[in-house]
């Protein structure tokens, strides 16, 4: 282990803002993107299933 203490780790020798700004935004993007895609998938599935049910109902009615 390279670091002596946790606060050293956070400070990054004075570069904390820059280093954690980089890692933080990267992590944020890499969490948000899959989350958005997964949500898209759920909403798409629900919307298509709803359409399918509506079409089935239309066919039943003369």
């Amino acid at each position: 282990m390279y670091w002596n203490s946790f606060s050293d780790f956070i400070a990054m020798g004075g570069y904390g803002l820059y280093v954690w700004g980089s890692f933080g935004v990267t992590a944020l993007v890499m969490i948000l993107e899959p989350w958005i895609v997964a949500r898209q998938r759920r909403t798409t599935e629900q919307r298509l299933a709803r359409q399918l049910r509506a079409e089935a109902k239309m066919e039943q009615q003369p």
């Binding site: 990054m12 020798g13 980089s22 993107e33 298509l48």
Partner: protein, 246 residues
Amino acid sequence: MSSIHWFKYSAPSTFYPLAGKLIPWFWALFAGFALAGLWLGLLVAPTDFQQGEGYRIIFVHVGASWMSMFIYLVMAFWAGLGLAFNTRLSGMMAQALAPTGALFAFISLWTGALWGKPMWGAWWVWDARLTSELILLFLYMGFIALTHAIDDTRRADKAGAILALVGVVNVPIIYFSVKWWNTLHQGASVSLTKAPAMASIMLWGMLLCALAMWMYSIAVALMRVRVIILERERHTDWVKELLSSR
């Protein structure tokens, strides 16, 4: 492993479940590589005598830059495949990759700026690498805008494919011209990726982080291609079956 298998999986109906099965594996690989890379890069690797702790930004920056360029190549590969063999899945793959590539280009620019501020004293420097990365982001934006502006999916795929291929031919020309322009106007003395004689532990950390981003890209692209398949194949029987079964 005969060629029949490949063509079998180029049909959206068989690729959809296959992708669903593959996604967790790529997430697992991503988690493994990311943990190892971050552990090496943030906890084990010693400081750089020239750049201090600020150099640790390369562990995300280099991987993101590589991926942004690599994804464009992969996108162009799928695009070319789609044009040559008229396979439906190729265009969907290209469109699934583009947003991820654009995001990596953005991460590369963002981390480049955060590295440049303490090292060069400015958030943005017209360095050849950063400028090319910006232009690459523009190219991604153009691809996404074009494919979204066309309603007919077949035309969107093919038009996007031509644009991706034209772009891939142009990327080296753009990089060369920007480099030429840069050396005439100013030379950046410190480079983000050219750490003198990088210690092998740093190199390993960087490679592992880049591998993690690679696995991430595959996983997200597969997730997105599944959404695109669902949307486009909504009138087929297999999608209807899939939807009514849940």
